[in-house]
């Protein structure tokens, strides 16, 4: 193996299939060992890419488990929305009570002054 072969083999794992140019390209054209190595990397990448369309079958209960999670989450958010409405109603009632109490005090003071 020549120094140029070692250079080619150190660069092949980073290539995405593009051709080498210049002296490296000329070396590959004349070197069977480097041509074979380049072919191995191309073959490996082609096989890896084939895997994308090949799926494993998900566990049969996966979809049901996801849907159960969504139902639980929906119920919890409805519950927290209900609690929010109750909190707002209590706050509104408390506010109204304060306003009413204030009005009673003001009326009482006016009556006191009038007497």
């Amino acid at each position: 193996m020549t120094a140029m072969c070692r250079l080619v083999q150190s660069r092949l794992p980073s290539r995405d299939g593009e051709e080498f140019g210049g002296a490296v390209g000329r070396h590959i054209e004349s070197c069977l060992r480097c041509q074979a190595e380049q072919a191995r990397y191309l073959s490996m990448r082609r096989k890896l890419h084939m895997l994308e369309g090949l799926t494993y079958v998900a566990p049969p209960d996966l979809a049901a488990a996801v849907i159960a999670d969504l139902d639980r989450e929906g119920a919890e958010s409805a519950e927290s929305a209900g609690a929010d409405v109750r909190r707002k109603a209590v706050a509104a009632a408390a506010g109204a009570a304060v306003v009413a109490a204030g009005a009673v005090v003001v009326l009482g003071m006016r009556r006191g002054r009038a007497a």
């Binding site: 794992p13 494993y56 996966l62």
Partner: protein, 190 residues
């Protein structure tokens, strides 16, 4: 129902319904994409039970995020990104809690249940290449899987793994080199 069947009657309508809060429509998307999501998770975490947990969590995260899903994007591409994020955050949590390393766990294609789709097409290639991927350390195989199987860019891989683009390229180089050695060492370097 397969992913292809859903696409046939226009998946966009189902996605739009799910975006407006239709849980039935989202359930349909889950059933259509569960195999591809599970497969991606399995290739990243290399454990069937963990992959099932990751897939489940990924779909729940997707449901929460679907109102923000851009209508011009592909649902499967978006789902892949969520799955990768979920797998890595799941792995980070597991690393904090378990003492045994996850590296070295192999996918057993028969036990995992290979989909019938194109099963014959690559019957001889698939087990060998999946087993070779299983021999790589997880940090190397994740990068090889995302780049060479799913065609992700270096920048996307770096972003999802929380590493620099240079580090992603170095891992890819090391991963491919190791994979080549595993694949051709068995055949006597033919």
């Amino acid at each position: 129902m397969s992913g292809r069947e859903v696409r046939r009657y226009d998946e966009q309508d189902v996605v739009d319904a799910a975006r407006s809060g239709d849980r039935g429509a989202f359930s349909e998307l889950v059933r259509a994409h569960q195999d591809e999501v599970y497969t991606l998770a399995l290739r990243l975490v290399r454990d069937r039970e963990v992959a099932a947990d990751v897939s489940q969590e990924a779909f729940v995260r997707a449901w929460r995020a679907i109102p923000r899903f851009r209508a011009d994007a592909r649902f499967s591409t978006w789902m892949h990104r969520i799955t990768v994020n979920t797998a890595f955050s799941h792995q980070a949590r597991l690393r904090r809690h378990r003492t045994a390393p996850l590296d070295g766990l192999h996918i057993d294609p028969e036990a995992a249940g290979i989909g019938p789709e194109r099963a014959g097409e690559s019957a001889s290639v698939r087990p060998k290449i999946e087993a070779a991927l299983g021999e790589l350390s997880q940090s190397l195989s994740s990068v090889v899987v995302l780049k060479d199987v799913y065609d992700w860019s270096h920048a996307d891989i770096a972003e999802h793994l929380g590493i620099s683009v240079t580090a992603a390229k170095v891992r890819l180089h090391r991963g491919r080199k190791a994979l080549r050695e595993i694949l051709w060492a068995e055949a006597g370097d033919q």
